[in-house]
Each structure stands twice: as structure tokens, then as C-alpha cells.
């Protein structure tokens, strides 16, 4: 029984179908593992009783039509879930109970899955280490003192530790791919517009995108297929066909052209990251892909542009938290003072920094110098990718400039924390899909990921290439279970 929680999503779905175990047995196995793993602090809200009910209900009425039939799934606490508290990791939403369901979670439930719980994340998804959450930081199963990455840190840690068979996160600047890389899991940021943003607590609307986080590439294709699709409630949702990504998944990538951007070889990059990148190139060559050197000349400007665009959009999106409609409310002598005290008490330090940066760059007299400039730079970054994709089918880079770092290491210097997202941010600015796949270890035996960037709406190619890497990489989950 206890080993069900170590199985992949695909194996669990097949096992339920073949009646090797029931949905209830699966659910209990993950609940059991979750209850024993409180030290990791992955859950904000547990829905275990409801999950058991749903599982029993499934076992009674057995219906295998959905892609995720009978599977419990815990999700990042940024997705609104009907009648289940949704906090976004913030004090200001600590008591918010949505009366509606996000489109993406609804898609999962329509495919036969049900909710196991809501997972910890950086406050409003602003962070790269899960240390900004009002509900405390999450621990990486690879080490008691290590961060799991962020902002989808609770999702990554829960997935790696076997507390959920798969999960979904959101990625505004790397929030799926960086924690996936830090925990030895697979994380995909889909093309902007592929998954609906409706019902997801908004951070930076032109960058936010939900995506799957799984134990392997096969699971990733399946979960991605289940959650994607057009939604009339999100005006930036794109009405293109959702492919059968799982049945088309193949590691036959012979003849595909892979670009290696020279600008991603940054100063001071650890040798082991460079070595991993070289290994990735060898894996893909071995699979028959053709590797080409390319240039993305504006890469170095991506992170500064991101730290104008994202805070600007965040400062506007977070204006809604005023202590009137929902969430935390502080006292004040008059309306304005009530607003000011509510927001001062309700938001944490990183969120305040970003709101203030956003307010500053959008304020009168500065708009052209910052925001307009950033949008111009964003165009140049997008042009770089457009040009590169004339010659190549996908781009291979490291996912992160380091492996998981220690809790507290970067909290005193916001800019050093931001540098974590140096390889992931250009993708969000350009709206492209990208995946992080585990590919090896550093000298301390911590996992490292490689990133594949694809053309818009061509997730299939990067999934296939990831599968080719996965089959060749010397990667096996290798941590001791120290927290139970």
C-alpha cells in the first residue's frame, strides 16, 4: 500500500483502471504520506476528508472516461477553489473562500480528478524560494536547510516527496521551472494563452501562465492536455485545438534542430551547470538532433525589463485588496487610513517592495523612462526569439544558475534573489512555452534541470525533446526520507 504514493501519475491512472487498487486506496496513501510530512510545510489547506469522500464516490460509480479518473491532486494555493479557502500565501487573503472555481482546476475535475489540498507558495507568487509566504517557508526534500525554489515551492516539494501524484503551478518569471529544477521534477510553462487565467489570483497578467508539474515527462504531457483549452472568460485565452500531447509523445527527435544561445553562458556560472548543459547537448545529439549555436543578443536586458513590467502590472492588480470586498481588514479613523493600514498589515515585505516599484515606474513623469522603455526592450527580446526560431525548432539552456540554495541565504538582498530567474524570465516576456527536465546533479548531489524553449503553441516538440533527455540522463530520485 505505502508504495502507491511513489508511483507516477500515469501508473496510478492505469492501476485504478485495471483495478490493481481503488481510488480510495490511492487517496489514503497520499493522505498518509502528507500527514507524516508536516515538517516540509507544503500544505496551506488540507482537503483530506472531502478527498476520501470523492474517492469513495468514484469507486462506487466507476467512470473511466476522464484523463485523470479517480486521481487526487493537490494544487498551488493561487487557484481559486469553490468553497475551499484560497490564500495566495498572503495574510490579506488568509480567510478568503471563493464562491467560484478557476477554469484550470475545473478542467482537472472534469477529467475525473479531485482536490487533495492547497499548496504553499510565495505570497502572490512573488519570490524564488517560497520564503515570502505568510504561512512559512517550505522545505526541500533534498535537504532540511534547503529552499524548494519558488514561487510554486509547496507544489514542487509535495510532488518530489510523494504527497501528491502530480500538481499544477503558475509561472510568471520561472515559478514552475525553477522549483522543478530545485526538486528534480518536471515543470512546464505553456504558451501564453494556452491555459485559462480565469480564477487564478493575478500577479502580472501579461506574463502569468498556469502549467503542470509532474514526476516525469509522460505525466507532464497528460496533465498538460487535461488542463489546457480555450476559455471565453479569459480574453487572452487562445482558441486553438488542444493536441493529444500524450499519444503523440515520442523520443524520436532525429533531425530536429536545437539552438544553443551563447548569451546564456553568463559570467560566474558554476562549472557544473556548464557541464550539465554540455551533457544535455550530447544527449540530444545522441538522439539524432542537430545542434546549432545561436545568438539571443538582448538576453542580458530581460531581467531588468521584467522587474519593471511585472511590478507595474502587480501594483495595478493588487489595488483590489482594500479591506472592503474580501480578506483582511484593519481599523482606521477614516476610509483612506483603513485602506493604508489594511494593506500595510496584510502584505508582506516582498509584495510591498514590488507594489512600490510598480507604483514608482508608473507614476507621473516616469512612465516613458521605465514602463515604455521596458515594453520596447520586451519587443527586442521577442524579436530575438522569432529570428532564432527561423533556424531552429527548440532552444536548450540550463533552467537555473545554481542548485537549491539554503534558507535565508538570499533574503537580505532582493536583487540576488531576482538573479535566480535569469534563464527563465526571457521566456515569459516573449510568451513562449518552456519546460524544465531533471538532467543531473551537482557536487552536493542536488538536482539540476535543463530548460527547453519552444515555438509558440509547439509544446509537443519540447515535451518530445525532454523525453529524449529523460531517457538518457542519469537521474534517479535519490534523497533519503529524513523528515518522517
Amino acid at each position: 500500500m505505502s508504495n502507491i504514493s511513489e508511483l507516477s501519475l500515469t501508473k496510478i491512472i492505469n492501476g485504478i483502471k485495471k483495478k490493481e487498487f481503488t481510488s480510495e486506496e490511492v487517496t489514503k496513501s497520499f493522505i498518509d504520506q502528507s500527514k507524516k510530512s508536516k515538517k516540509l510545510n507544503t500544505y496551506i489547506t488540507e482537503c483530506f476528508e472531502e478527498a476520501i469522500k470523492s474517492a469513495k464516490n468514484f469507486d462506487k460509480n466507476k467512470n473511466y472516461k476522464g484523463l485523470l479518473s479517480g486521481v487526487p491532486i493537490a494544487v498551488k494555493d493561487l487557484f481559486c477553489t469553490k468553497n475551499v479557502r484560497t490564500t495566495a500565501g498572503s495574510k490579506i487573503l488568509h480567510n478568503f473562500i471563493p464562491t467560484y472555481e478557476s477554469t484550470v482546476t475545473n478542467n482537472l475535475w472534469s477529467q475525473g480528478a479531485f482536490l487533495l489540498g492547497k499548496l504553499n507558495c510565495d505570497e502572490f507568487a512573488m519570490g524564488s524560494s517560497n520564503e515570502t509566504s505568510f504561512f512559512g517557508n517550505v522545505i526541500n526534500p533534498y535537504g532540511e536547510k534547503l529552499v524548494p525554489g519558488g514561487s510554486s515551492g509547496g507544489s514542487a516539494s509535495a510532488l518530489a516527496a510523494g504527497l501528491t501524484p502530480a500538481t499544477i503551478g503558475t509561472d510568471t518569471g520561472g515559478s514552475i521551472r525553477q522549483p522543478a529544477s530545485f526538486t528534480g521534477t518536471v515543470g512546464l510553462k505553456p504558451t501564453y494563452g494556452r491555459c485559462s487565467r480565469w480564477g487564478i489570483v493575478a500577479f502580472a497578467s501579461s506574463l502569468d501562465q498556469a502549467g503542470p508539474m509532474t514526476r516525469n515527462v509522460e505525466d507532464c504531457a497528460l496533465l498538460f492536455q487535461a488542463m489546457s483549452g480555450y476559455d471565453s472568460k479569459d480574453s487572452t485565452s487562445v482558441d486553438t485545438k488542444v493536441d493529444n500531447y500524450s499519444s503523440k509523445l515520442t523520443d524520436k527527435v532525429k533531425g530536429l534542430k536545437i539552438g544553443i544561445p551563447k548569451e546564456y553562458k553568463v559570467d560566474g556560472m558554476p562549472k557544473e551547470i556548464d557541464d550539465l548543459w554540455k551533457k544535455g547537448i550530447e544527449y540530444l545529439k545522441d538522439a539524432g538532433a542537430i545542434v546549432k549555436n545561436i545568438s539571443l543578443p538582448h538576453t542580458m536586458y530581460a531581467l531588468p525589463a521584467y522587474y519593471i513590467v511585472a511590478p507595474a502590472e502587480a501594483s495595478s492588480n493588487l489595488a483590489r485588496y482594500d479591506g472592503v470586498k474580501y480578506g483582511h481588514r484593519a481599523k482606521g479613523k477614516n476610509l483612506i487610513e483603513m485602506y493604508e493600514n489594511t494593506r500595510s498589515e496584510g502584505f508582506g515585505d516582498e509584495v510591498k517592495r514590488r507594489i512600490l516599484i510598480g507604483t514608482y515606474v508608473l507614476s507621473s513623469g516616469y512612465y516613458d523612462a521605465y514602463y515604455l522603455k521596458a515594453q520596447k526592450v520586451r519587443q527586442l527580446i521577442k524579436n530575438d526569439f522569432d529570428k532564432a526560431f527561423h533556424d531552429v525548432d527548440a532552444i536548450l539552456t540550463p533552467s537555473t544558475p545554481s542548485s537549491a540554495f539554503k534558507i535565508g541565504d538570499k533574503t537580505n538582498d532582493p536583487v540576488s534573489m531576482y538573479l535566480n530567474d535569469i534563464f527563465t524570465v526571457p521566456v515569459n516576456l516573449s510568451g513562449l512555452p518552456a519546460i524544465s527536465v531533471p538532467a543531473g546533479y551537482d557536487k552536493n548531489n542536488l538536482p539540476l534541470g535543463l530548460q527547453l524553449i519552444g515555438k509558440a503553441f509547439d509544446e509537443q516538440t519540447i515535451l518530445n525533446l525532454s523525453l529524449a533527455i529523460e531517457k538518457r540522463a542519469d537521474f534517479n530520485k535519490n534523497f533519503k526520507v529524513w523528515w518522517i
Binding site: 501564453y192 471565453s232 522587474y307 514608482y360 520596447k376 526592450v377 532582493p414 536583487v415 516576456l429
Partner: protein
């Protein structure tokens, strides 16, 4: 550019976040380091570049302008920290 304490106080007023003196000091330091980082962009000439307006090439879909929901006042008020039967309640605005 450095963001001095007065500027921090001004923008926190605009953003409706109250700050004490100590916090304003820390934020002045933090925001200065972030803005300095952002200003790397100044070394790039963008005079002839049009700003990006959309990252997806698809045109926005239009839909019929029709009422599809409504009569959900209770749901809307449900999470309010202070309300009466019909309205959100806020501190007195008009003397």
C-alpha cells in the same frame, strides 16, 4: 537613481500602504538597489523600436454583449469583512 525616504513616503501614499520611519528607511535602500539594477536598460538604445503591445498574434475574440449571470449579491458579499444585508460597509466618507 536613488530613491530617498521622501520618495518612498510619496509612492507609499499613492499605493495606499502606511509605513513607519524604520520601514521607510529599509525600503529606500531596497528600492534604490532594485532601480539601479533596472537602469541597466539605459545602456540600450531603443529610439527606433515600437513598444510591445501583445505577445500573442491571435486577434482578440469578441462575444455577444448579453447578461449571463447576476442575482448573486449574497455570493459577492459573502467574503466581505464588514457588510449589512445589501452593501459593503466602510468607514464614514461624508461628514
Amino acid at each position: 537613481m536613488s530613491i530617498d525616504k521622501d520618495t518612498v513616503k510619496h509612492i507609499s501614499k499613492l499605493a495606499r500602504i502606511s509605513l513607519d520611519e524604520k520601514k521607510a528607511d529599509t525600503l529606500s535602500k531596497d528600492l534604490t538597489s532594485i532601480i539601479t539594477f533596472i537602469e541597466k536598460l539605459n545602456s540600450l538604445n531603443t529610439d527606433k523600436v515600437d513598444p510591445l503591445t501583445s505577445i500573442i498574434n491571435a486577434s482578440l475574440k469578441s462575444r455577444k454583449d448579453e447578461v449571463k449571470d447576476g442575482k448573486i449579491r449574497d455570493q459577492i458579499l459573502k467574503n466581505s469583512p464588514e457588510k449589512n444585508d445589501e452593501f459593503f460597509v466602510v468607514p464614514k466618507v461624508i461628514e
